[in-house]
Symmetry: C2
Subunit: 157 residues, 2 copies
Amino acid sequence: MSKTTIIAEPNKQEVIVHRTFEAPRELVSRMWIDPAFIPEWWGPSVMTTTVDSLEAARGGIWRFISRDPAGNEYAYNGVYHEVTLPERLVHTYEFEGIDAVALVTVTFESLPGGRTKLTETTLYPSIRIRDGALQSGMTEGMLELFDRFAALLASRT
Amino acid sequence: MSKTTIIAEPNKQEVIVHRTFEAPRELVSRMWIDPAFIPEWWGPSVMTTTVDSLEAARGGIWRFISRDPAGNEYAYNGVYHEVTLPERLVHTYEFEGIDAVALVTVTFESLPGGRTKLTETTLYPSIRIRDGALQSGMTEGMLELFDRFAALLASRT
């Protein structure tokens, strides 16, 4: 059962994802950018993800490489514009091979009972590119990613 | 006479600016990110602009401070996602005090006769924020900025 909400309104350039976790935001936000945990939750479980770079500070570069069971590699990268944990992250996002850079904002909001609402907003260069990303299976990948992250958090709390 | 074209379609989150310069793109692109020249063209001439930082490389930070005749200061900053001169720049953009980060892509295209077409696309977090920027006098500021840059280029060619 996934509790992830994905909002992609017609004719807009963004995708907004909400998910509430049963953990305080200090832990949620720290784990979100901890390179040691990325391979355990980032992307679908069928992929093997390695962290090439993750410098979680303004101007820092991140780059992840995912490998599918056939051995094909896919790489993703960006730079951090803002890292103000536990509140907020702003970074660029690029799927290597696709000539399009997106802007991602992640906010962590404390809720009563030690819970945390994560909101991830991804702003695409055009409606067409956003819609292409949505049709590429991104939605299923995101649902699984957030479930994996929630399970990992649950194992640590 | 300004030859700058500013395109801001209704209900979109972006502003696209085109300007053709009478100079080759190696010079145009190099001057565009040269901190020594920024004070001479960046922003309206009534402002005094200083470069606090300009590291033109992936992950590099830029920050400019503009001071109006009354002494009020306005600061702008961002990080570079991509610096592949003479073709392209991708960087974030933030007007300090306004909680909104935009994504800027600048391309330099060679035209016959040693001319260069510059295209700057600024992607805002929302239509509302884009429209607010447009209504704040940004358009006039941009027209002047591109005229100043063209005049500076002309003085160097």
